[in-house]
Symmetry: C2
Subunit: 456 residues, 2 copies
């Protein structure tokens, strides 16, 4: 079967009728929903991963992601045979018309891009792919990596010609973890193929699972530039708010009042300061582009500066902790400091590159007595500290509470009740503007990032 | 009359019934529309300025701003006596209940804030104000300037107590030049007074002229922080696009394709690269906050970096001109270079801090033969060069056209016709993505900022 000879309508029909087999490589936070939704659309899907434990789990219809409605979709599609799970890349590829790559990319300790996993996949594929296949890259990569690395490697290994014998397109994931199934379907997707026909066919494939717009762009590198530009936009704007937050603390201005009022201007959209940014995208994607720029002798100074500011925020939080304790004539050393929230964003179970990690490490170094609480990580060991199983236990006799993640359960905390458990005064360093400063109980020292210090 | 004893409804009624006199200090691009609209609302308005020529012009019902519907509003309100124009600050103030300050602020050559005009106004007022007056600052100033400078100066000079004998609020202008009357009425305004009552009364005053929301904020410094934050947000985001534009030129990616596709993400809003930013706000407002931060020992590195990038764009345009000419084996020296558009934004007559100025100065230094065309500046002298009266004359025998401002008339240029007048090949350096690269005539070298070079 040669999809490139199909019309877009024929592609959609073939998927619906179960005539197309799609392999999804990498069954993590992006690949798993992708595989499941294509199975739902009618395609035969084979999900492949290198982790035998994950494969066993999935074959049983289970998964470790905490995503609404994902569990039931996996169970259903495993049971009805639309979704198969495999460790065998070669077998999977030989039986597919479409190959979707969803493996993670990251950065090395020196902040250079780490593409080792996806490079391994491309090398492996170069010896396996068969004529007329279309490869679609969802993984986040530098613009040009498809054109300058993947195509040469695939052509060399397969002896096939890209754009004639096989095809490649980028369709970068735009997932919103925590609500991934819904946002996968509702968010427009960007597709850039190596030829116009390839872009059209890849768009037809995704139109089976995306209810929203599909934007056909110029080529793979443009699609990848879109993904990085979006995330850099967020990183820069959060950095701006972090830089302003530190200034407005000094000027005794509440940055949240400023953001609220600024948001009424037609050309402003709000971003918020915090203890730093985390997750698998914002802290790493900017470095992919910084790296790529270096190769052509160009320094992305603004983007680098934004990274510096956001990476420095955990240190700022630690400084706020120190200053707040000092008011009560205490120091970080030997104080009971309770970190509330570990995830990098609210109401998901994900600690990847969360600022909580840096804050905990810094507090350890300063010899604080650290307690952790996060409803998503109860009883787990995080940096050799066991996460408390109850909020009450975590805050008992605490000298300082530090809000890192505004999980619902944390923002619903009743400070009047909590105050009875902690030491007095109640000291809160709030990275997320969790509490209304007008409702603080008496004898509270409240330092929210970007706000004047409040002593009630 | 003591406005502070009025309810908000009483204030509105008193304005409508012509019982309130408002003086507006500074009759430029902000003060004039403010004065006119308050006169329209029923208030008696006295506009005051130090420029005798401007006063004479306005008394005749004329003005030099190119703003839709402003002319007729001035004529009408001068004629019916609602708007008076005066050189006499003392007389004006003695007869007003409300004083609105709309004088310009700017920066010095070393980029420090230049508040000389507004400081002079405040000093003058300190000897003139009478009890129960409310002073409203529309001028853009640093957060804290009302609290730390204006109030002490006014109290010292007047022997009156702020918050008791007289009142002060910030209501920073949020004008959109080019459509100022309409946007003045339709744009929400931020008001922060020195007391809650003062905020309420100032809000009531503005509700007579603003059809949109009025946001009451904490205090004057918060209102001023809002104004600076909004403009810095724009400056940073334009800088980001400028930084990416230079990279994407090198990677042969079209940044306008990237921005278009990125704009389909729920949390992205588009900004565009260009030859640099101009006008009285973006190039100067960031320095007000940078200055203020320095006073408290803090460096706003991200904001400074954005300024550097935006200020460097005219140089980048000149480099693009040089490279494009080089392809045709020409150099900037002695080439006929035609600058199209001088205003800092399209379809207004305003060259304040426009990037055109830097570009022209740089080209002069490189000994180019410079021609200028801008429909709003025909026959005027700009940097000792007379602006051409016709587009055709300006482009005749030009070696290179440089688009700085996308005035409608310029974006409607027919390149096929223009090509017959210029030297061959037609070389265009486009700072504003004015032309569709697919419709270029043959023998054209087209270098748009942020895009791959096109030779057709």
């Amino acid at each position: 079967m040669n999809l490139m000879e199909f019309s877009e309508d024929q592609v959609k029909k073939a998927i619906k009728n179960g005539q197309i087999t799609i392999s999804v490589i990498g069954l993590g936070r992006i690949g798993l929903p992708t595989a499941v939704l294509f199975a739902e659309s009618g395609a035969n899907v084979i999900g492949v991963d290198i982790d035998p434990k994950l494969i066993e789990l999935l074959k049983d219809g289970k998964n470790e992601l905490d995503e609404p409605s994902l569990d039931e979709l996996i169970k259903k599609n495993i049971k009805n045979g639309k979704l198969k799970i495999s460790l065998d890349l070669k077998f999977t590829i030989k039986n597919s018309q479409v190959i979707i790559i969803c493996v993670p990319t990251s950065i090395n300790k020196n902040h250079s891009a780490n593409y080792s996993i996806i490079k391994k996949v491309i090398e492996d594929l170069s010896g396996i792919i068969i004529p007329n296949q279309i490869i679609i890259i969802e993984s986040t990569i530098s613009p040009g990596m498809v054109e300058n690395y993947m195509i040469p490697v695939l052509e060399r290994g397969s002896k096939l010609k890209c754009g004639k014998d096989f095809f490649i397109a980028s369709c970068p994931e735009r997932a919103n973890p925590g609500n991934i199934i819904k946002t996968f379907k509702n968010t427009p997707r960007i597709i850039g193929g190596i030829t116009q026909k390839c872009t059209n066919i890849a768009s037809a494939i995704y139109s089976s699972v995306i209810d929203s717009e599909i934007i056909k762009t110029t080529n793979p590198k443009t699609a990848n530039a879109v993904k990085l530009t979006e995330n850099i936009f967020r990183d820069i704007n959060i950095a701006l708010m972090n830089e302003l937050a530190i200034l407005y603390e000094k000027l005794e201005i509440n940055i949240f009042d400023v953001i609220k009022a600024s948001s009424t201007k037609w050309n402003f959209i709000p971003h918020y300061p915090g203890p730093g940014v985390g997750g698998s995208c914002l802290p790493v994607n900017p470095y992919y582009l910084i790296d790529e720029a270096k190769k052509v002798g160009y320094e992305l100074n603004l983007i680098l500066m934004a990274r510096e500011i956001n990476e420095q925020m955990p240190e700022h939080i630690v400084q706020l902790i120190g200053k707040s304790l000092e008011i009560a004539k205490k120091s970080i050393k030997n104080s009971n400091i309770c970190i509330l929230g570990l995830s990098y964003k609210p109401d998901i179970k994900d600690i990847q590159l969360s600022p909580a990690i840096s804050i905990i490490n810094k507090l350890k170094h300063l010899e604080a007595k650290i307690r952790l609480f996060d409803p998503y990580f109860k009883n787990q060991n995080i940096l050799d500290i066991k996460v408390n199983s109850s909020l009450e236990n975590a805050v008992k006799d605490a000298d300082c509470l530090v809000i890192v993640t505004k999980h619902k359960l944390i923002s619903n905390i009743n400070l009047q009740n909590i105050q009875k458990l902690t030491k007095s005064p109640l000291i809160i360093v709030d990275g997320r503007k969790t509490f209304n400063s007008e409702n603080l109980p008496n004898k509270t020292i409240y330092q929210c990032v970007g706000c004047p210090l409040i002593i009630s």
